[in-house]
């Protein structure tokens, strides 16, 4: 029952975000600030993680190919498929739920408990539009860093595969190019955009409607991470069934 009520308030919140817009001059600088914080600020960690996970995927695939019948180019092929289909869009989004999500919940939650949100509303500002809209717009750039994560992940696989002696560069590249289906990339970016919206709005919801003090801000950030991840995992399943199934 409680969950249904929360889904309802979440839907109402999303509707409010698009009402009574803030002056464009002010909104523009808010959006730029959020792009810097949410997108540019996450680039480093995503590159770092992608590179090493790509490497691990390549090594594990290679170690599992014990039979001589399985072609060597499979290492490149498997790396490409797992990075593009799953790792970059989904795994990175879970990382983002931790990094960006807890930042959003705690920054909005702190504004709630210190009455800064009340102060905005007293002035007649639509606080939801002011705080959440720029985050949604900034997250529209999320697919760009996921594209970079895909590239770096595959690069990591190549480095680990070739320099670890698990595959030759030619085999690996052959695998990368084998049976390339552009729809897989489309599917991946559709997922990424949906996750971007979730990453901007669910943590905002948990921050905006929280009650209590500093301790509760911490708790809200944890709850928000759990729910953002759960929703991403469920939507990942549904979208995969719809688009690839």
């Amino acid at each position: 029952m409680n969950y249904i009520a929360s889904i309802g308030s979440y839907a109402i919140m999303v509707k409010e975000v698009f009402k009574k817009p803030t002056k464009w001059g002010i909104m523009k600088s808010l959006i730029l600030k959020e792009i810097d914080e949410l997108i540019y600020g996450s680039l480093g960690i995503l590159i770092f993680i992608s590179f090493f996970i790509g490497g691990v995927v390549a090594i594990q695939t290679a170690l599992n190919i014990t039979s001589e019948i399985i072609p060597k180019y499979l290492v490149g092929f498997a790396t490409r498929q797992s990075i593009i289909l799953e790792f970059a869009p989904t795994f990175c989004s879970i990382i983002m739920a931790g990094k960006v999500g807890s930042y959003i919940t705690s920054s909005i939650g702190t504004m709630r408990v210190t009455e800064q949100i009340d102060a905005l509303e007293v002035m007649g500002v639509n606080a939801l539009n002011y705080l959440v809209f720029p985050k949604i717009i900034a997250m529209l750039f999320y697919p760009f860093i996921i594209a970079i994560a895909m590239y770096v992940g595959i690069l990591g696989g190549w480095v680990a595969g070739v320099f670890g002696g698990f595959s030759t560069s030619a085999d690996f590249v052959e695998g990368l190019q084998l049976d390339f289906n552009t729809f897989h990339v489309t599917y991946s970016f559709i997922k990424t955009l949906v996750f971007a919206f979730i990453l901007a709005t669910i943590p905002s919801f948990h921050g905006f409607y929280m009650k209590g003090g500093a301790l509760e801000v911490g708790k809200a950030a944890t709850t928000s991470f759990v729910w953002t991840s759960v929703v991403i995992i469920i939507l990942n399943y549904i979208l995969t069934q719809l688009l690839l199934g």
Binding site: K23, A119, V122, M123
Partner: protein, 255 residues
């Protein structure tokens, strides 16, 4: 002038305000006093339109809030200034940015007009060299001054302050009280202040409302509060031995 007529406000099962009626005059510092949890903040948030009372009306110079259209309510809100208990400054903005914020949001003033207005109000609250500091870099008393500057930058007709001197040392507290009173008189504002501070009551209580358990228990001026024999009021106001003695001496002197 703000007239409050029989307002009720509850959260779930908890009745916080149980039928309060009173009025607040223009150009005066009106005080709401009462113990923690007596409903002062809820009351002031009703006056601000942040909470809608379930019953009763609040009218601002004759305009009944609940009968106004959405845009009329918004216009009325822009005539209100609020100083929150914890100052509620935007911590991502400098002092100047905080004070400038309402101007940028709601006026079409040019950059230099805004700058002049910001400089003027910051000078009015006696803050001269903190323009580019962030809220976390200034003292509690200075934060209160910035909050007052932000509240008055749009020339409000109504000013609300929730415990403006809580957390301040007694001397700074009196300075802040006096500043609010001066501004109230200077600009002829209807000011409502929540307080549990006895110094404020004595110094600036031109009209005092005592809330207890969501009911208006007593109403009067700071002269009258010395003489009242309402037990709830005297218990609250003269809770310390020192104040009890002061009252005794005052009453003896008069007899």
């Amino acid at each position: 002038m703000i007239e409050v007529d029989n307002i009720h406000k509850s959260f779930g099962d908890a009745n916080v305000l149980k039928g309060i009626s009173t009025c607040f005059d223009k150009g005066k510092t009106n005080l709401i006093i009462g113990q923690s949890g007596s409903g002062k903040t809820v009351f002031i948030k009703c006056l601000l339109g942040l909470f809608a009372p379930e019953k009763g009306t609040i009218s601002y110079d004759g305009k009944i809030y609940s009968e106004l259209s959405g845009s009329e309510q918004r216009n009325l809100r822009q005539e209100m200034g609020m100083v929150f208990q914890g100052s509620a400054l935007f911590d991502s903005m400098t002092v100047e940015g905080n004070v400038r914020f309402p101007l940028e949001m709601f006026t079409k003033q040019s950059d230099s007009e805004m700058q002049d207005r910001v400089d003027f109000v910051l000078k009015r609250v006696n803050l001269i060299d903190a323009h580019h500091k962030y809220p976390s870099e200034i003292s509690g008393g200075m934060q209160k001054r910035v909050a007052i500057a932000r509240a008055i930058v749009m020339n409000p007709k109504y000013l609300f302050c929730d415990e403006p001197n809580s957390g301040l040392d007694p001397k700074t507290a009196i300075l802040i009280d006096n500043l609010i009173q001066e501004i109230t008189q200077e600009y002829n504002i209807t000011t409502v202040i929540n307080s549990h501070d006895m110094n404020s009551v004595m110094e600036i209580g031109e009209k005092i409302i005592f809330l207890k358990n969501g009911i208006k228990e007593w109403e009067g001026t700071n002269k009258e509060i010395f003489k009242t024999d309402n037990e709830a009021v005297t218990n609250f106001v003269y809770s310390s031995e020192l104040f009890k003695k002061v009252r005794q001496m005052y009453l003896e002197e008069r007899n």
